[in-house]
């Protein structure tokens, strides 16, 4: 089974190379079906890996049969598996939705190829056991998303994509500078050997600066507050399935996962890194919610709410880091905080993608995204309305839905850890999010149907199926926390990896 690990990266890569050749005029349906099959195959491969992961915690794969000291190592542990599963689900749904939504754009073969490359880049980042390898696949996913944001070639899409490229390019250069500094000190690139060299040769301010560079570089990729300037322009400009992938997966895989791997597993928890994360998270939570309330463009509202939800994840991880540093007494409380953050990461990926797909179907049906020109779509688009209702209910944290559980765990962890101000902030932001989405429903679905919306009908074919899949998954996400076996198999390995930190990562690679 370990032999199949590179398939996560090679399968989308080879299909990305084949698709431009295949995508000629008469082959377009064949290309679309082929691309959908590839994403479904990845989903099945990810799910098939679960029993094997439960058997032994970690799977390592030596590329080229080289010793890890010399060659590159691919690592699949609990955290990577959780990310792989979330990526597979959301990309399968987005690809299905895009099969029909992208009919209005030309050059569909190039769209499919770029989509596959973004998928391969994200899978590569999640499986990377080597710092420079992580950077290369991060670069693939970023460049593919730069091109996809500007895919429509209209005015604001080009500007948004240019701005995203410049800020993303600066972020990538900072990460490469950080890797160079780490290599200068540790003379090794494999994550395990870097952490061993750091622990044995001691800490100098070169490594502190490298850590700062990583936090800034991955922070730019995760659109945390001081660096979020590109997200409110880039996500609305991208076509709907791509903004679903961007908001749902890209900022999490490149930003949050990269930072977690570097901080918890490579550098270890030193100094005030926990407080930095909490600060970033808090700032993003509040700014994202406050800016989001005033928006009239549906997708911009969703983009701002993405920033605030990522803030939750950062705050949860920061809380876990601070508690871990306090010593073993708070270890199980730290486990709860990290569990809340990871669950929120998975939840947010699924229902944010669902919300962006609904905004795509609204845009395709009515041709506009401005809420003041929409209204009363409830009768005409029942499925989209139902999907949007479930999505916004769970993002706002209403009881039976997924978002409630992860926010509950986070707030409980904050309260037990005596961080009352953090818990209060979380609740306040949850209320703002609720207001935001009530406003969305009020203007888009309720109220009089504007006369301009003549022949509006709900979306057809594969777009409908994609939304159904994501709605069912959003409803099922609640069970992940309640049902102990499911939680034990899905979430606990990921939490062990994050809480285990440097020692466990080292032991795993030696074993």
């Amino acid at each position: 089974m370990t032999g199949w690990m590179p398939a996560f990266v090679v399968l989308p890569l080879i299909s990305a190379f084949v698709l431009p050749i295949l995508g000629g005029r008469r082959f377009k349906p064949v290309a679309t079906v082929f691309a959908n099959l590839v994403t479904l195959a990845l989903l099945l491969l990810a799910l098939a890996w679960l029993p094997r992961l439960l058997a032994e915690k970690v799977a390592t794969y030596r590329v080229g049969n080289w010793d890890p000291r010399v060659g590159i190592l691919m690592v699949l542990d609990g955290l990577s598996w959780l990310m792989l599963a979330v990526i597979a689900i959301v990309s399968a749904a987005a690809m299905l939705f895009g099969a029909r939504y992208m009919e209005q754009y030309t050059a569909k073969a190039k769209y499919l190829s770029l989509f596959m490359l973004m998928l391969a880049g994200m899978n590569g980042v999640v499986l990377a056991g080597d710092l420079f390898n992580l950077f290369v696949f991060l670069e693939i996913a970023s460049i593919a998303s730069y091109a996809l944001v500007g895919f429509g070639c209209k005015d604001e899409q080009l500007e948004a994509s240019f701005k995203y490229m410049v800020i993303g390019g600066v972020g990538s250069s900072l990460i490469l500078l950080g890797i160079a500094l780490v290599y200068g000190n540790a003379a090794a690139l494999n994550m395990a050997f870097v952490s061993k060299a750091i622990s044995s040769y001691g800490w100098n301010n070169g490594l502190t600066f490298a850590l700062v560079l990583f936090v800034v570089g991955f922070g730019i990729k995760a659109a945390v507050v001081p660096f979020h300037a590109w997200l409110p322009d880039a996500h609305p400009a991208a076509p709907a399935p791509i903004s679903a992938m961007l908001s749902g997966l890209l900022i999490k895989t490149l930003g949050v996962y990269g930072l977690t791997r570097v901080i918890f597993n490579v550098f270890g928890l030193t100094g005030s890194i926990g407080w930095v994360l909490i600060g970033l998270g808090l700032a993003s939570m509040v700014t994202g919610a406050l800016l989001g309330i005033g928006q009239w463009d549906v997708k911009r509202l969703l983009a701002y709410s993405s920033i605030s939800q990522v803030g939750y994840i950062f705050a949860g991880l920061g809380l876990g880091a601070v508690l871990l540093q306090l010593g073993n007494a708070h270890r199980d409380l730290a486990r709860w905080a990290v569990l809340g953050a990871l669950l929120h990461l998975a939840n947010h990926a699924v229902y944010k993608a669902l919300l962006f797909l609904t905004s795509g179907s609204i845009e395709m049906a009515t041709g506009t995204r401005q809420m003041d020109r929409l209204g009363g779509l409830a009768q005409r688009m029942p499925l989209t309305r139902a999907a949007c209702l479930i999505g916004s209910a769970s993002i706002a944290g209403i009881f039976p839905f997924a978002g409630f559980w992860s926010k509950l765990v986070l707030v409980v962890a904050a309260v037990q850890a005596r961080f009352f101000w953090l818990a209060a902030a979380m609740v306040a932001v949850a209320v703002c999010t609720l207001i935001m989405y009530l406003r969305l429903h009020r203007y888009v679905f309720l109220g009089p149907l504007p006369e301009s919306a003549g022949m509006v009908r709900d979306c057809q074919g594969s777009m409908r199926v994609a939304m159904l899949i994501l709605t069912v998954v959003t409803l099922a996400m609640g069970l992940v926390l309640i049902v102990p076996q499911v939680r034990g198999s899905v979430l606990d390995p990921a939490v062990d990896v994050v809480v285990g930190g440097v020692k466990q990562y080292l032991a795993m690679l030696e074993g």
């Binding site: 005015d155 410049v166 600066v170 250069s173 490469l176 290599y183």
Partner: protein, 121 residues
């Protein structure tokens, strides 16, 4: 001292990206930043009085064993492999940026951010 100069180049690139108003100037700032990082990587691997890590007839004995002098004096091949990748990444990013610049120019007739209304910050 040498590292400081190289990082000064990085700062100049960062300054250009942050302050300049012209699209092409921003692209140039980004290119300068990537040159600086590539140079920094190669400088990390340099060994005083080093030799290029390429074996020639003189360094290899009849049965293919290496002379110890070569191993003790050769420069580090690993950063060179990383920089080769980084150079081609910067070329790719440059091509994409220029493609977008040209497309924006054909739409607005200018490279200046102030006239292009939607760009903020």
């Amino acid at each position: 001292m040498a590292y400081a100069l190289c990082l000064l180049l990085f700062m100049i690139g960062l300054y250009c990206v942050a302050v300049k108003k012209n699209l092409v100037k921003i692209v140039i700032g980004l290119a300068v930043m990537e040159y600086a990082v590539n140079l920094f990587l190669i400088m990390l691997g340099y060994r005083a009085g080093g030799v290029a890590p390429i074996l020639t007839r003189s360094e290899v004995g009849p049965k293919g064993e290496l002379s110890d002098i070569f191993v003790s004096r050769a420069v580090d091949p690993l950063p060179q492999a990383l920089v080769l990748t980084a150079i081609v990444i910067s070329l790719g990013t440059l091509a994409l940026l220029i493609a977008t610049c040209i497309r924006i120019y054909s739409r607005y007739g200018t490279f200046d951010i102030t006239q292009i209304r939607r760009l903020k910050g």
